[in-house]
């Protein structure tokens, strides 16, 4: 097959022509002959523009390869192990991955635009659907941003309830990851165990918030309700069971030779690369950088509880696995301290501006009824300003950039989804590896497409 088989018809422009229409050319990965050499080097090298210069040298990268030796294949968007609708285009030479390009947007529903149309009261229902594996963290970051602009202070019990739920959410999210990661590596039993334990956490959420997912429980001004009676017992049982089960996972996976063969030394990342690519969360920590916003820039009351930040050494799949497994244990540690030290008091701010009057008052006071009605129809107004708030979600730095123009709806709501940014590591992690490892590597990045596409 000759090179002219690949006709460059000029439709695959790789750089944006100034002043062209709104369509800027193909998102897909193009064949080598029709790709601009600079861009090709970047794609082959995955990251070339590292700040310190020389982690990857463009001279080392062999772009002189005949097109008919390689093959571009699609993985996804309907592939069962790409965790949702992630589509990867892989250029393969036999079993080796040469170039990778994630193509995303299949789940884009314009949630940031929707957020501009909803009041601050309604906003939490919108953001909670972004990262559907840790909805409470989305609500938390949105609420923290709104409260920061409002300048209200929360009663301690609200803060600690938020912390309890946030940590339980981390446990459930990591359990889900353990399950799917096990499945991707062929361990079907891990799939079943992971979902079984996650269901325990979700049952507690159902009891406390009314829903298993998409709770709309953490709201600007506090939380929606107090914890249900007997929550301490439920949480105690949950901690005890899941902690015991994590040691079963150790027996099932951690020490198992096949599992270690498939994860150790696969998908290596260095700290420089991770920082250059803005990677956060367990992937950054697997490279040995002890960066956890709960510790480094504490929010809620994380500066008052005792926990360890788990770091890895090699930045490979196995490190990412062990970090997540141990983070479950650390989260259990935090949850136990929260159970022990949960302060009494109110579960939401009594700032009249944001909090509707209690139900009992509505029956006896007309003003309270009007106030209640206004909070839920018009919403409350938030002072002009802009703020960026970040928290540590199970996947990394979950940020919320909120601009208010003084009305009751956000002027601009931008969510910095950790999955969206972390996905940039995929081409680098897959580079030079085997197709068989691709599935394991994608899984170890833990992308949640709802958050990637928003």
């Amino acid at each position: 097959m000759s090179d002219d088989f690949f006709v460059d018809d000029g439709t695959r422009t790789r750089t944006a022509p100034r002043g062209a229409g709104t369509s800027e050319g193909a998102q897909e990965m193009a064949s080598r002959v029709s790709t601009d050499p600079v861009e090709l080097r970047r794609e082959v090298g995955a990251v070339l523009r590292l700040p310190e210069g020389g982690v990857l040298d463009s001279g080392d990268i062999d772009v002189e390869r005949r097109d008919d030796e390689t093959m571009i294949i699609n993985m996804g968007p309907q592939h069962p192990s790409t965790h949702g609708v992630l589509r990867l285009m892989l250029e393969l030479d036999g079993e080796l991955v040469l170039r990778t390009k994630p193509v995303i947007g299949y789940l884009h529903t314009g949630m940031e635009k929707t957020g501009e149309e909803l009041t601050y009261v309604q906003g939490a229902t919108n953001v909670t659907r972004m990262d559907y594996l840790s909805p409470l963290n989305n609500e938390l970051v949105f609420s923290l941003a709104v409260e920061s602009l409002l300048g209200i202070e929360l009663p301690p019990r609200a803060v600690w309830i938020r912390m309890l739920l946030s940590e339980l959410q981390r446990i459930s999210s990591h359990l889900m990851w353990m399950a799917t990661n096990g499945m991707d590596l062929g361990s079907t039993s891990m799939m079943i165990y992971g979902f079984r334990e996650r269901e325990m956490v979700l049952s507690f959420f159902e009891k406390a918030t009314g829903l298993r997912m998409n709770h709309n429980f953490i709201r600007p001004g506090g939380v929606a309700a107090d914890l249900p009676d007997g929550w301490r017992d439920d949480v105690d049982v949950l901690c005890e069971t899941i902690l015991a089960r994590t040691y079963e996972y150790d027996e099932l996976l951690t020490g198992q030779p096949i599992f270690r063969e498939r994860t150790e030394g696969v998908g290596n990342l260095t700290a420089d690369q991770a920082l250059a690519l803005s990677i956060t969360g367990p992937i950054l920590r697997s490279t040995g950088v002890a960066w956890d916003l709960r510790r480094s820039m504490p929010y809620l009351a994380y500066d008052q509880v005792d926990f360890d930040v788990i770091v890895g050494t090699y930045g490979d799949n196995f490190d990412r696995y062990s970090i997540r497994l141990n983070e479950i244990r650390e989260s259990i540690r935090i949850v136990r301290q929260v159970v022990e030290r949960m302060p009494p008091g109110d579960y939401r701010s009594q700032d009249r501006k944001v909090t509707p009057p209690p139900r009992a008052r509505i029956d006896e006071s007309m003003e309270a009824l009007i106030h209640h009605f206004k909070v839920f129809t018009e919403g409350f107004k938030v002072p002009e300003g802009e703020v960026y708030v970040a928290i540590e979600s199970p996947r990394g730095e979950l940020g919320c950039y909120l601009v208010s123009d003084g009305s009751s709806k956000p002027y601009r709501l931008h969510i910095r989804g950790p999955s969206f940014v972390n996905l940039q590591a995929v081409p680098l992690l897959l580079r030079g590896g085997l197709v068989a490892d691709a599935v394991a590597i994608i899984s170890s990045v833990d992308p949640v497409m709802g958050e990637v596409d928003r």
Partner: protein, 197 residues
């Protein structure tokens, strides 16, 4: 909860817990104090301070890359976030003196792991020429974020090697997060309403 955030060593509670912000938050006096104390790079560029981030810089468009590289040299290892805002219907926002409000704004949040600090950079981008230099050589992690800002708001990033749409389909018309982009809705069909025929 105290205001002694871990950044206290550097003189700023950079990431004060949001609840504590109103009490300990940057009043006008402290704001200027911290701003001058922490303006380590390009001090002539206008600054402001806001809740949760004590240093917000407003460089002109041609000094944007200078600013980023100076911050990178000053220890801001990673670019946490980049997004664009369309201020079409809210032109009278508060900006420090010497900064002319334009329709678009590109907002970059930098993070220093070693100093546990954040800074925010807000660049004004005019409507008739919505182009900004790409930061991809300084912070490769902005690759996807710049594509997103281009896709949704329509700010072009000069020098980005692959500035294509990322979330919308590649043949999509318009930039959905612009304020003059219609929201669109499906009319509610009540039971009594006449059918489609």
């Amino acid at each position: 909860m105290t205001a002694d955030a871990p950044g206290a060593g550097t003189g700023v509670g950079t990431d004060e817990p949001a609840e504590a912000a109103p009490q300990s938050g940057p009043g006008p006096a402290t704001a200027t104090a911290t701003a001058t104390a922490t303006a380590t790079v390009l001090p002539e560029v206008p600054r402001a301070s806001g809740p949760a981030t004590s240093e917000i810089a407003f460089p002109p468009r041609d000094r944007y890359l200078d600013m980023l590289s100076s911050y990178r040299d000053a220890g801001f290892e990673t670019c946490a976030d980049l997004c664009a805002v369309d201020y079409l219907t809210h032109p009278g926002r508060a900006l420090p003196e010497g900064v002319r409000a334009e329709r678009f704004e590109v907002v970059v949040n930098l993070l220093s792991l070693s100093q546990r600090r954040r800074v925010r950079i807000r660049v004004q981008v005019p409507e008739d020429d919505p182009v900004l230099a790409s930061a991809i050589d300084l912070y490769p992690g902005v690759d996807a974020m710049e594509r997103e800002a281009f896709d949704l708001v329509g700010v072009r990033f000069d020098g980005h090697p692959d500035l294509t749409r990322i979330l919308m389909p590649e043949d999509w018309e318009g930039h959905p997060l612009r304020k003059d982009y219609g929201v669109g809705r499906v009319p509610v069909q009540f039971k009594e309403a006449p059918g489609p025929r």
